[in-house]
Symmetry: C5
Subunit: 295 residues, 5 copies
């Protein structure tokens, strides 16, 4: 398992904050289990049609605290409004850019909704930044990221990059879930200076492979092999995998197991946890923590 | 009814200014009744073709003062020119962005016409910002808003977001008055850090529902239910509802009643008030204040 | 007649400078008679093909001084090069944005050619800003104007807005000279915080009316009524009317009379004056001053 | 001949630097003979295919020094690299914007390659700025120029505007060499505050005239008359004429004679000089200096 | 061979840093042998499918140190993460802009991924900047470069320009490898103030020549002559040639020999070295160093 000691390049501020999330909170032992609640901005209220009141961010805050997560990830408005009651009880990853899904998705760029300074001001332990790798507006994205990077180095704030291949060109090269673009996104995050990168688990299909450039067009890897590959491409960037939409318990557990066995530093699962009722959510949290600690 | 005490996260400046509008002026008891006069910019003089002289902003200022409103909302030019005579007699919500309706409406963005600093300089108690949720230019809008948010936190100035779903993509997803986009807009305001959000009352129709994504396409809610839903989606953001164009007395009263019963913090009705003759306007104001105070 | 005393909101710097133009120079008694010489930039040398040497800006400077105008309006280059000889003898309105007429006119925006700081530095008594109301680039225009407004408040410099409806959308709503768009432009200037607005006299026609939105499509007003209407829409913004291209003496005088009788604060006539020979120009100037003073 | 004494408006810094170029170096007596070597950027190495080594900027530096020019005009890279050996021996006009000719020419704008501060830092006596008058990107150009103008006033640095009508709209109004657009460009330079303007000698043809607006469409002037006209339109801006591509000796001499007789302050001839062998270049330089001094 | 003594214009900081790379590290004697590892960003992980682990940047760092290179060139993320272990053992060229190859290539611009200040902060000895000469977005590129240039002069940081002709217009003028555009790119680098320029070796073909402007369309030069020509066009800018994709040993050696014999200051070969196994890579490195030192 990746340990913080393998990253001597991190400055004191980043090290202190990552240590808090990887050893003092969450499963510990150098792992990350993050609960994201940025879907309200990215997807809208469609994600909150459940029996229990997950529309109220207090639900996710309570789950993160009582479930013992490494951190909760959310935007400035939610952090400021719902965070005070839980101050000191759960680290915050301040998501500092985002967008709605209403406008066209062909040339995406995710505008700032907060800043590294905001993260410092509210006592967050990391910032989250969505990078749309391969978007026709990638140049705007890189320039926006550079300022974030500069500020993060200045303040000793860890950067978690949501590395999402998106946009019309990605669609033509195997699609957003293909190994080629996720592998590329992993490397880009390492090159640009992310501390942690959030990736999706690659999905393979004959059709997608045929659209990918060599040698990916002839690579027919298992999920385990694909996960291992993108973790290697991320290099000295800690990798956490996302959970995506709600799936069966077996699938959640299998995904977690594969990712951790293949070198991930942790998981960032949202809907697969907080769309569950309270007891079920706590139970699945416990299961995932065991997987992270390889019990 | 939403009370300011439920919002302990507000800093001292915001709290003081909101208290002035919610308790010292207007109906009181934690409610907001705001008189907007930004239509001259947004619609042009077409809105002022009445028997009485509502083209002269003094009419609205006098109505806001004598009717006992929580605040008057308007742009910098009108505030500076017509405000001095009423200084101290009525709180000002300085609208700091706006546009005319002449250019195409497919990719709207509302440029700044003032600033948070201007609001401080003229002694305003809040700024108003129009956010065109879902516009293809949403990224420019978010970036512009972030600066406003940063300044507002710095100066302790409450932000009222006019959360308007607009643009070509909105038209294709149920239209600007559909539950889906208004519900989304309510959540976005909460996520981005609005203190108060101005929403339109959703309107439903079979045709609009068919264009909305699941599960909205099969939701057939009453107006009461729709209002309650968007108020919940707004979370810890105070919700005030707009009045729209002139309707009958019964409709105005019914709309106000529904909104307040379903959890709104108040109303921001313009044309339905100042397009009336003086006595009629005062009378309707009185009726609305009773509804706000649930007498 | 509009008097400066009706504008108690003006700060000391603006008041002092406006007083100089409205009482110390020009016809006096609270009126404005401004000689513009920005046509060389806006139209090019085509406007200077006369027998006398109006191509040389000294001609206009001499006319403004000897004719006793309130001010001369021009761009920075002309002000710096031709102004020193006339320093103290004629107030300067520094036009701080402008463009040539060579590029396409469908989405106009007028870029800065100077600044409020330049106006302070050269001792000008006002800045002139062209706002293309309704242009598809209106958002860029508003944002540029906001900076001008901010600086003008800071330095106490009066702002004269050349409020010109322009661009493809305007063409489709009655055209640049229609009552609808000029009335709208007058209101916009008041909303955005102009101190003085330069408007064109509206022109009416059945065809143009049919393109305008209600109730303008059924308004059939005389020139007097249209002028009175736009002056009212400008509210607490002093209105000066432009002269346009060269017309007959009778037309010039009639236009001036109507404008002043209907509430204008003054006139800004250029080509109709400096395209005349010296003696003729002085004579017409005298005629106009009599109209302004209602002798 | 235009003399610096006719320009009392110039501040001390500008006056000192212009004096150096117009009296201490070059032909003297208030004239300017400038050797430009910015073609390597604007045209590329195609201009340097000669028997002698004009590809090496030392050739042009030596020619400027030994030929006794008023200044050499070039970009920052060449100034820094080749200038030190000739420091104090030849004034430098630092060209601060430029572009290659590879991209499309329909909407040109010339980006900054240096700054007024760079000019101060390297001891230059003027900056050169290319303004593409009439380009669809004219607004970006004007805004970029305004900053240059502001800095130049601050540092007392003379501005020489390369006033080039360019872009698709210019092509439709008679073309880049037509009297209409060059006459307009001359006026624009005077309006925006250039100290010196570089113009091309207008060329006339029946076809071009037919595309120009009145009264240019019926003006059939000789080259002498056209040169005199644009010099008048430039007003208090010193005019220098360009040489263009290599022509015969007779044409070079005739062009120089006409320009100087019709009121130019000087010449900026490049390829017609440094594309010649050394002795021939010095001889032609001598011939031009005699014309400038009207010997 | 080009020597640093031929560049007296370099300031102390640039001279010190270039001296370190040209004399203290690498082959010495005024040469440059740079190992680039920016392909992970520009091309993605496709370049790392080898038997040995070249996906791990430690491989390239070790090769650069043990092979005795002048410097290693890479982006900020890799420098910060993998550099500390090798601090002081190998100079760093910090590549400060870059992009992925996923978006369309027709109007490229390479956004900043770091800054000159970052280079100073991490102790780099030069910055690398990719300039897409001839791109339709060239104006954005030049403006971005100007800031880099300004900072580099301020901090005494050498600039190595990756001068790459790219974009739709380049394709229509002979293509990215044609003599015309590479020759032009060499000159542009000299004009804009690069200290070192990285060029590709031009490739000629009848088809490409037919698309190039005169006189290039009739120039049929050998590779030696083309290399000599672009070195001359680069003037006082040190030229280093790139290696491109993997080719045979003979081709690598031949390319190196030609470049050095025709006046290059060095080589920047990446894939042709680190795609080899360790012993082979060291052996080829030794061969290249002998060529650079002309043993």
């Amino acid at each position: 398992m990746t340990k913080l000691d393998d990253f001597p390049h991190l400055n004191l501020g980043k090290r202190t904050r990552l240590h808090r999330m990887m050893y003092e909170f969450g499963p510990g032992n150098g792992t990350l289990l993050i609960l994201p609640i940025d879907q309200g901005l990215e997807h809208g209220p469609v994600d909150f049609f459940t029996e229990h009141d997950c529309l109220n961010p207090e639900y996710q805050f309570r789950l993160a605290v009582e479930g013992g997560y490494s951190a909760i990830a959310l935007h400035l408005g939610l952090a400021e409004k719902y965070g005070p009651k839980f101050a000191g009880k759960i680290p915050i990853v301040l998501k500092i850019n985002g967008k709605t899904r209403i406008p066209p998705a062909s040339e995406p760029v995710s505008p700032m909704t907060g800043s590294v300074e905001d993260a410092v001001r509210i006592g967050a332990d990391a910032v989250g930044y969505t990078l749309y790798v391969g978007s026709p507006n990638q140049h705007l994205d890189f320039m926006q990221f550079r300022k974030v990077k500069e500020d993060a180095e200045h303040y000793g704030m860890p950067i978690i990059v949501w590395a999402y291949p998106r946009g019309s060109s990605v669609d033509g090269k195997g699609g957003r879930d293909s190994l080629y673009v996720i592998d590329y996104a992993a490397r880009v995050s390492n090159e640009l200076g992310a501390d942690v990168v959030k990736l999706n688990v690659p999905v393979t299909s004959a059709k997608s492979r045929s659209m990918q450039p060599p040698p990916y067009d002839t690579l027919n890897l298992s999920t385990e092999e694909m996960v291992a590959k993108v973790v290697r491409s991320a290099g000295k960037t800690l990798v956490i995998f996302s959970g995506g939409g709600m799936v069966t318990d077996e699938e959640v557990i299998e995904r977690a197991r594969i990712c951790m066995e293949q070198g991930a530093a942790g998981l960032i699962f949202g809907r697969n946890l907080w769309q569950r009722d309270w007891d079920d959510a706590l139970k699945m949290t416990k299961t995932l923590k065991d997987i992270l600690l390889k019990k």
